[in-house]
Each structure stands twice: as structure tokens, then as C-alpha cells.
Amino acid sequence: MTNYSHIEYWQRFIQGDQEAFRSLYDLYANALFSYAIRYCADEEIVKDSIHDLFVDLHRYRSRLNPHVNVKAYLFGSLRRKVVESKKKSIDRSISAENYRFRLGLETEDYITLSDDKENEVLTKLRAEMEKLPYRQKEALYLRFTCEMSYEQVAQIMDISIASCRTLIYRAVKDLRLRMENNKISQLLFIAFLPVRKINDQPITSRSMLI
């Protein structure tokens, strides 16, 4: 089979190539699912939205822009579809209710490093990341997990590039401050404890000392 770049598949699909349509599905279905399931925990809604997205692409393909950024275009379109069907599925259309983004870090199994201290820090960091505002988490996910450019992230989230940068900046700054505060409070906490009790402390506190 010939190896085309993603944009070539896109253009061949617009010209009416069925095989390219299937290739687009193969290239993006799992990435789209992985993104949207963080947006909406209901797998059926996500699958329905992916279905609608591809059906629309097929139906309106003669009108599609052949020079689009394919990945950002697909992610952005799916995002709108998921939001729409979430609005429909829950009768309350309060925007805050409909906007959820989970990184899903806490449920994962991690390879534990031999370094206990490092494991503790990472666990804490993951927990703090999940506490960030939804839009910040989404920006982090698109920028670093999906390795997208600011231009792509901006297109998907439908905001300016500058706003994207601000989201990332605030998210990382927040994480830094929370991690620093955490360290200080641990230090203070332990400093006021009688010396003999230190050994009874759970690993969390001890590892934070250094």
C-alpha cells in the first residue's frame, strides 16, 4: 500500500476516494475517541459523535477545504459534536455542567520507580493536575499529550493562540505553586513534631522532607 501523508489522504478523500475515507478513520478513530472520552465519560455518546462526524465529512466532502490542518479540524469538529449531544442528553444546558475534561491520570497503573521519593512526588503532581480547571487540563492534554502546536490547540478550543499560551502558563504556574506550598507545609508540619515521632510518620511526609 502506498504511504501518503495525512493531508494527502484528506485530499484524496475530498476527490471521492473511498479507500482514503477508510484510511482517515484508521488514522484518527482511536485518537479522536481517546480525546473525546476525556470530555464525556459516556462511551455511547462519544461513538455516536464520531459516527456523525464521519458521516458529515462524507456528505459534505465536496465543500471541504483541501488545505486544512486535518488533525485540528477533526478534533475541533468532534469537540463541537460531543458538546451538542451532551446538551441534548442532559436536559440542563448549563454550560458549566456540559464542560468536563478529565485527564484520567489517577486511574492508571503506573510503573513504580525504584525511587520512592520520586514516586511520591509524581503521585502528588498527578493529583494536583487533575484538580486544575477543565480548560487548562484540555490545553495541557492537546499541547503535550497529543503534541500539537499552539495553532492547532487554538483552532480546536476555538480561542486565540495567546489565550492558549495563557492557559498553559497558568496551569503550570499553579502546579508549581501547589507543589511548593505542599513542600513547605510538609516541612513546617514535621518541624513542629517531637523528634521521636518522625519515624512513625507515613512515607508521604518523610519523602517530602528532602
Binding site: 478513520y25 475517541f33 499529550t145
Partner: protein, 370 residues
């Protein structure tokens, strides 16, 4: 000025820039990046992946159909190229996916059994037709007429609601009588190497013998491989058992999914009954007639428990039969019930009118002990 980790990560090339920074900035930055980059990607299960694609493909096929003819005239040359490509593409898919497509098509419309009032056929092109009583669904001509222009495997689904039954002639000339509350899904054209159908409910099969092309009946619990025979399969969801009865020829049974048993070859005149709870297959040489008597609109009973009889009558007459007192459910009956009779007549033979009172509502009969 000292640079903080947020300055680096919000920049354009965070990983390269981090390397130039102080240890604490670098450490936190790399931790954040590592966590985000190693987070699990939630993939679709392979079944869901295929099923979703088939749904997309089916929907687009429907909408393309209408516009295609116009386009064919205007850009016939272009259309031919597209068509050739699609034929090539689809043919490749056909063999890998024919069984999955059959299963998929069989499961998407099972709700019709309880929702429809009349026998219906949903054809490959998505059209649905209602069939009036006593008609035979004859799909024989299709195999020659539809030349191999078909690009995708398409499926017909015949749905028989409770209270109805129908005879179907399949594209290969095999005949199937479908009992009440059943559904049969099969391709509009059988493949050259094999014939596969999916049955929910009960069907009496008279399969056209073709040594080169085995015939498979898939059900929820087992697969029956056929080489030209007559047999009856009963595989209702709400029955505690599934049975296969062979009248002539030879068939092979195989378990599906959780139902595992050694492939079993059935001899003519025997019945195989699968108990769904124990997942055990038992073979009996009892006369097979009572299993297939529904075709002659008769129900033959041989020490049949009352509960089983009422369950069958419910399906045939599409009526809820509610017995208020539990007594008598274990009572067994032998004999012959004429299913052309009104239901109340049959019930009075089963429930002595001196002891029981029948209360008839629309689609519902309540039996009370006097």
C-alpha cells in the same frame, strides 16, 4: 531575570529549553511533561472499532445512493473510476468482515421483534417492507439478477412478531419457516464459498444441498453447520433451553461464546437440547415431530410442563397469559393442541373451567383459581 517553569513550558519548544535551565526548574518541567506524555490512550475495543466503522459506512451508503444516479450521468467517467476503486476496496473487506457484518446486522434490529405488529423485511438497501399474512417471501431471483455489481455485502432481515409466522425462500433456494417472535438475518447474495445466516427465535430449515458451499446457522448459543438437510432450530432468548432437531441429512453443532461443548454431529431423527443454565447439551432419540408441529399449526405435547405450554401459546397468539395462582405450573400434559383454535378454547382444555376462571383483556388473559 530568573525563568520559572511556566515560562518554559508555555514556550514554543519546551523540552529543548528545559535542558538549559536550573535543576529544580528542569526537574518539575520534565515531571509534568512525562506525566502528560505517558498518559494512557483510551482505545476503542477492536469490536467497537469495527462496529463503528460499519455504522458509518452503512449511513454514508444510504445517503450516497440517492445522489449517485445523477452523478453517474454527469460524470460517468469519474464515477466509473470511483466505482472500480470501491469495488476493489469493498471486495477486499467482504471476506474479512462478512461474519462480523452478519452478526452486526443481526443484532441491530432485534428490537423489531417486539415493536412491529406485522411480519417485515428490512432489505439491504435499508428499505423496510411489511408482509401480509399467508404471503411467502421469495428472494430466489436475486442471486442471478443482481449481477456482481454489488460493492458491499448487504443484508436482509426478516422479522416475525409474536402471533405471526412466515415462509421465506432464501437466495440459494433454501426454505425457512420462521415461527412467531423470530428473526432471520442473511446476505442479499450468499458468498461463493459459504452461506451464513443468523437466527433469533425458531426456524424450520430445508437447506438446498450444495457440497461446495456449506450452510451455517448462527444462533446466540451455537452454530449449526449444514450440508443439505431439513432441521428445526429453536433458540428463543426467553427460553431456558435451545434445541436443534434433525429430520434428514447430517448437521454439526458447535457452541458459541460461553457455551462450550465438543462439536457434535447429529443423526437424523434425533434432537439436541441445550440447557442454558448448565450449558450442557443432551441428545435424545425421542420422536422429533413435536418439535416441528408448529409448522402444521399444531402443538404436540408429551409430558410438557404447563409453564412451557403457556410460554409457547403466548408467542403464537401474541397474548400475555397470567396465571394468578402458582398451582398447576408443574402439571404436565400430553396430546395435541390445534393452534387454529381461539386461544380461550385451548386454555379451557388446559385449565378446567370448574376450577379456574378466565378473564380476557386486550392481549392479556388472566387465569384465577376459583
Amino acid at each position: 531575570m530568573e525563568r520559572k517553569v511556566e515560562d518554559i513550558l508555555s514556550g514554543d519548544s519546551p523540552s529543548e529549553d528545559l535542558d538549559k535551565e536550573a535543576a529544580d526548574v528542569r526537574k518539575l518541567g520534565n515531571r509534568i511533561l512525562n506525566i502528560l506524555q505517558s498518559t494512557r490512550s483510551h482505545k476503542l475495543s477492536s469490536d467497537a472499532y469495527i462496529a463503528l466503522w460499519m455504522r458509518i459506512e452503512e449511513t454514508t451508503r444510504k445517503s450516497v445512493r440517492r445522489t449517485r444516479q445523477i452523478r453517474m450521468l454527469r460524470y460517468s467517467a469519474v464515477a466509473c473510476v470511483v466505482l472500480t476503486l470501491s469495488i476493489f476496496f469493498w471486495n477486499k473487506q467482504v471476506h474479512e468482515m462478512s461474519y462480523e457484518s452478519l452478526l452486526y446486522n443481526a443484532t441491530i434490529s432485534q428490537n423489531l421483534i417486539t415493536e412491529e405488529e406485522e411480519v417485515s423485511i428490512r432489505q439491504g438497501n435499508g428499505q423496510q417492507m411489511l408482509i401480509s399474512d399467508g404471503q411467502v417471501i421469495d428472494l430466489r431471483s436475486n442471486e442471478e439478477n443482481e449481477n456482481r455489481q454489488k460493492k458491499t455485502p448487504t443484508f436482509n432481515t426478516v422479522t416475525v412478531p409474536y402471533g405471526k409466522r412466515i415462509e421465506v425462500i432464501l437466495p440459494d433456494n433454501s426454505k425457512v419457516w420462521l415461527n412467531a417472535g423470530s428473526q432471520l438475518t442473511f446476505p442479499t447474495i450468499f458468498e461463493t464459498a459459504e452461506r451464513r445466516v443468523y437466527l433469533e427465535g425458531e426456524g424450520y430449515f430445508d437447506v438446498e444441498g450444495e457440497l461446495e458451499r456449506p450452510f451455517y446457522v448462527h444462533t446466540a448459543n451455537m452454530v449449526v453447520k449444514v450440508l443439505g438437510t431439513t432441521f428445526n432450530i429453536s433458540s428463543y432468548k426467553d427460553d431456558p433451553f435451545a434445541s436443534t432437531v434433525l429430520l434428514s441429512g447430517e448437521i454439526e453443532l458447535q457452541g458459541v461464546g460461553e457455551t462450550l461443548f465438543e462439536p457434535h454431529v447429529l443423526k437424523p431423527g434425533t434432537a439436541a437440547v441445550l440447557r442454558k443454565d448448565s450449558k450442557r447439551l443432551s441428545i435424545s432419540n425421542e420422536t422429533v415431530e413435536d418439535h416441528i408441529s408448529w409448522r402444521q399449526k399444531q402443538l404436540i405435547l408429551k409430558n410438557t410442563p404447563l409453564a412451557e405450554i403457556t410460554a409457547r401459546l403466548e408467542r403464537v397468539y401474541n397474548t400475555d397469559i397470567k396465571v394468578e395462582s402458582a398451582s398447576g405450573a408443574n402439571e404436565t400434559f400430553s396430546g395435541r393442541l390445534d393452534l387454529t383454535q381461539p386461544l380461550t378454547n385451548l386454555l379451557t382444555t388446559l385449565y378446567n373451567p370448574l376450577e379456574y376462571q378466565l378473564q380476557k383483556e386486550e392481549r392479556r388473559i388472566i387465569i384465577n383459581k376459583r
